[in-house]
Symmetry: C2
Subunit: 664 residues, 2 copies
């Protein structure tokens, strides 16, 4: 309840003459508790209900402060009608922008508006002109000398009975600049925008295991082998090369092939069992190379237009130095042992989780943050964070907030495959991008619903979806039969539905599809062993994937999220549930991408896709240019026939082009 | 942005080990800035998203403090699924309730849950039992002696290896009472509920002009005449008798009959031109009677079950004592005159508005509040406030807030016929009830839409609609032809759609319908002259109105708002737009009211009204009991035929009754 209702007296009330209210300000996340997210070049459109008692004319401005600004910039707001106002600002620098609103009674505009009606009605206005002259004099008293003289001139004209002088545009302009904003209302909160670089929204990730990157089968891959692999990854068109943890791997309770409980001698263990005698989260697994090699890899990747993403998994093997140096950061059991990770009745004795309820939580937080800082100092700007939802929320808010204040270029990808509230909350707390449920959305209706949830509900202002068809942890059942069509449609949807996507290779392009017994996971998973891949396999999807990434880069609509829209495809006057069509366009539909996917891996599917020709100003006849096959179809009207054969190519990615664009 | 993101250091961070988050708490008005409203006996259902990192079991409580409570009461919250929780409390006392939420990791439940899974899997649990025993000992240390002993017994059993002891309901109960809530998260805001008496929601208002209440034509009515009129108003079934301003009326610029610019000698003027030589807002117009007479009227009304509502119009005639005593409360014009009310080019020279931007705004606020206090001291508990939207919002928030703190029984009706944002905002600021746009909603679709807006959107938590078919200021065009049917349907809808309604009589029951030239207002309006009414006119609607109020009192569903629902009425397989059907039921449909209205004043309209028989558990055959005509129809199934003739009775008010209820 506001101050007002809790005090009978007025002594502590503040300025009771503020008459303007500002309400329902959007965008806002949880009443301004968390920032919204944007990338440089974006517009932020702020709307609010702004009104006062009575019928006076109001004025309102957006106040905006960029990361380097010492003071506010003001942008005018416009009344859209029904007391609803809008203002827009653009964000041009990475870092945190702050915005708020100020509104007040526009005394001059109110006076001018009423004078106009009096003059129209032929009323005597002498006294009204005197009232106006006093306002003009008040503005003059707050204006620099030459302007003050101009204003005094206007005041004199009004006093002399010149009503027309009141309606001079120049006077209105000067009055809006210099008349004090009496009893102005400032919106009660300052709101924040986390502004990231474009890669935060538009990015293609490729994950590979460095230890499987050796040219020679059976050999442990190194950073140098990864450097040799860079041309391949760049040719596929990716932006970010993501490596699983590169740290020393634990010895005690090391897992063997296919997650067997005991490793045989010589088995490499899981890179997520972090820490050994050689060091912990700030050390490099010796078989991968040295810190100098790592620096070389970072630089080489950059020369191919790739940024390196490291995997930050805050957990320790029993051999991690932290276990010895900071036993207080782990939970002790009554028998003197350290509590290993569990999901009863399952036990993960190779992993010790940190105890975020430790009495030395501050020491733990500083140390964990210093892990990021260490790798930032080595040139890393992108982090994929393993299971952030099993670590304290408040830690992430503080850690990412502090790191981004010093390094606003950082990108954090949250790997939280958990309940929606938790997944979305991590994005509020600061994670730039997040893995999603896309991997499990396979039916038309659930894909459509999910796209709607991600792009049309309040989460769109803070949640950065990243669509992955697979990960080392996830091989979903639709892949088990090994249909090439499924591999094509899933990767095409991931790459064109959302501006950010990623895949785990070379497993994916080589269409690995055999699951481990009883789990949605790969057999002979690289998590537990070194593999060797034939990148030149003639069945590889590499050229298809390269084409997808190239289409993304040359078609602006695919670089945004909020513009996605689902279209029905009918067959025999009913929805064909096997054909999923969706579009993405630039504003005003100057550039239109329409994707049609056959979700049925076995049958040809056909139907009539509905195109909003009028809304998109396509005219009677237009061209559907399939960017995948570089084929052009002449389409007419609202419904056009499509047919997709899973045996050949189950996806259309059309650019719809107007007639006048045809010859080019 | 939260504290966390703005500090690199942890010194000022607070407790970093709070792991639980509380979000999306409902109900809340503008992030808790304003209270929600309820009446005594209501339940407040609070929901929230509550979750933590990881997979621990959580516990949450609602904390509630009533108007007289010194400390919090706690109500458990229940997990509904998907991290969404619900708790309920009831409000039993008028005044302000405060509620908030607290949630924490339930360490014992987490341990018990995991132990259960381990035992099921046949695992060794000796160490786990020791962990549990330590928790039980911790609880014992915080429990009173006898309980501590019981808990120590449980701890001993666990230490002795008795896993079954862990699952004793008694242990769970004691642990939930005594184990400290470690690192609990309190919701960041305290939220408020304004709890009013039932009359605040369920009320029927009757407005009359005391000066027209004399038995003898041409005589100025008095409070004594109003006392003589009380049996009539009570017989009609009203709860509140509302009088236009009763204060001395200004002389200068007094308005004559039909709002003519100059009054003839002897014309009484408008009661809203408040203040004369006899006094202002705390004085009584001498022709109405004395303060003693007024006290008698208050007491007599109460003896008939009626409360008196006064009209508070904060404006002054040029003769008001404030004009002389406090010229600083009005706006001065450069020619030395006081600024009268205007809506250019219209001038209202008989009215001076207060200047809420006066430098003595505090003096003005105190004085205006003292007007309410004066009449409260005379026994008035209900106020109708004239044009509150032309007075400062902050004044209302302070004034109503302060008054209700001392007098929580007060009811304030806002007469703000203005834009929706402003109308709704006055309700947030404290007005109990509000006039609505009902008066102008005449089509089926717009009535349906308006009912939805009032009862299903966020405004339902703070806006108290009061439906009026007419007022002294409003005679809408549907009445002009004088159709009895329109008078019947409009008053029936006002009385049954919303729990609060009101009408301006005897004008309404006597079906006055001739408008003043060019305005939606009555000809020969009582605002400007004394009228005389023949209450015994055989065409009077008095018995119909009495029947409506009686139906309201004996049918609980009509005493709430949120339960209204619109039903289609079909004719020839299309919606009959002339028949409007809506229902109100108690929870679980134990009591069902179904109203059908013929909106067409000239033609018989018929159709098939759709009844959700399954949802309402009505069975194959049920009774539709028309409470207006006391006629019973046997209905079958989902669609039943209705036919309404405007020439006889254009409204059905059915109570739908189950077969087993039939013989009664």
């Amino acid at each position: 309840m506001a101050e007002a209702a809790t005090h009978n007296g007025l002594a502590a009330f503040g300025e009771g003459r503020q008459r303007v209210l500002i309400e329902h300000v959007t965008p806002q996340v949880d009443a301004g508790h968390y920032p919204i997210k944007r990338v440089v070049g974006d517009l932020v459109t702020v709307e609010a209900d702004i009104f006062a008692d009575g019928h006076d004319v109001l004025a309102a401005v957006l106040r905006v402060r960029g990361p380097a600004d010492q003071s506010w910039h003001e942008m005018p707001m416009t009344l859209l009608g029904n007391d609803h106002w809008r203002g827009v600002f653009s964000v041009e620098t990475i870092g945190t922008y702050t915005y708020t609103l100020v509104a007040w009674i526009d005394r001059f505009a109110t006076w001018e508006h009423q004078l106009h009606k009096r003059v129209e009605a032929g009323q005597e206005v002498q006294v009204d002109l005197l009232i106006g002259a006093a306002l003009v004099d008040e503005a003059a008293a707050h204006a620099p000398d030459p302007v003050a003289a101009t204003l005094h001139g206007f005041a004199a004209a009004l006093r002399a009975g010149d009503a027309e002088a009141a309606f001079t545009p120049e006077l209105a302009r000067l009055m809006s600049l210099h008349l004090p904003r009496q009893f102005a209302t400032a919106f009660e909160r300052e709101l924040h925008v986390t502004v990231d670089r474009p890669l935060a929204r538009f990015s293609a990730w490729y994950e590979l295991f460095p230890r499987s990157a050796a040219l020679e089968p059976g050999k442990h891959g190194t950073f140098m082998d990864v450097i040799a692999r860079l041309p391949y990854v760049a040719e596929l068109g990716f932006d970010i090369l993501y490596l699983p943890p590169i740290h020393p791997i634990g010895r005690q309770f090391r897992k063997g092939k296919n997650n067997s409980v005991t490793a045989l001698p010589g088995e490499p263990g899981s890179p997520w069992a972090i820490g050994g005698p050689e060091g912990g989260h700030k050390a490099i697994h010796p078989e991968l190379g040295t810190l100098e090699d790592f620096h070389e890899l970072v630089a080489a990747a950059r020369s191919y237009g790739l940024e390196l993403a490291l995997d930050i998994a805050f957990q320790c093997s029993p051999d991690h130095p932290y276990v010895r140096e900071h036993p207080e950061w782990f939970r002790a059991r009554p028998d003197g042992t350290i509590q290993y990770a569990e999901n009863p009745p399952k036990k993960y004795q190779d992993i010790y989780p940190f105890d975020f309820e430790t009495s030395d939580w501050q020491g733990l937080w500083y140390e964990l943050k210093s892990v990021f800082e260490y790798w930032i100092a080595q040139g890393v700007t992108v982090f994929r964070v393993d299971n952030p939802h099993t670590k304290s929320f408040r830690f992430w808010e503080w850690c990412i907030g502090s790191l981004k204040r010093d390094h606003p270029e950082l990108i954090f990808l949250s790997e939280a495959f958990t309940r929606p509230r938790v997944t979305y909350n991590l994005a509020k707390l600061g994670f730039t991008q997040s893995y999603t449920y896309f991997t499990w959305r396979t039916q038309r209706w659930e894909l459509a619903e999910y796209l709607l949830e991600l792009t049309q509900t309040e989460i769109k202002d803070y949640f950065g979806p990243n669509f992955w068809p697979n990960t080392p942890d996830i091989l979903t059942p639709q892949f088990y039969p090994g249909h090439r069509s499924v591999f094509l449609t899933r990767v095409a949807m991931a790459a064109t539905m959302m501006a950010s996507w990623g895949m785990y290779g070379p497993v994916y392009e080589l269409m690995q599809h055999v699951p481990a017994q009883g789990r949605e996971e790969y057999l002979n998973n690289e998590k537990y062993e070194i593999r060797h891949w034939d990148l030149d396999d003639p069945n590889s999807l590499r050229t298809f994937i390269a084409r997808l990434n190239q289409i993304r880069k040359t078609n602006l609509p695919l670089q945004r999220n909020a513009n996605v829209r689902v279209h029905p495809v009918d067959r025999n006057f009913a929805l064909n549930e096997q054909l999923f069509a969706y579009s993405k366009t630039t504003d005003n539909a100057t550039h239109i991408i329409l994707v049609v996917v056959n979700l049925d891996p076995e049958q040809v599917q056909s139907g009539w896709v509905q195109v909003p020709v009028d809304e998109w100003h396509l005219g009677a006849t237009y061209l559907a240019h399939d960017l995948l096959r570089n084929e052009r179809y002449v389409w007419q009207g609202e419904y056009n026939y499509v047919s997709l054969d899973p045996a050949t190519m189950p996806v259309h990615i059309f650019r719809l082009e107007r007639q006048e664009e045809l010859p080019r």
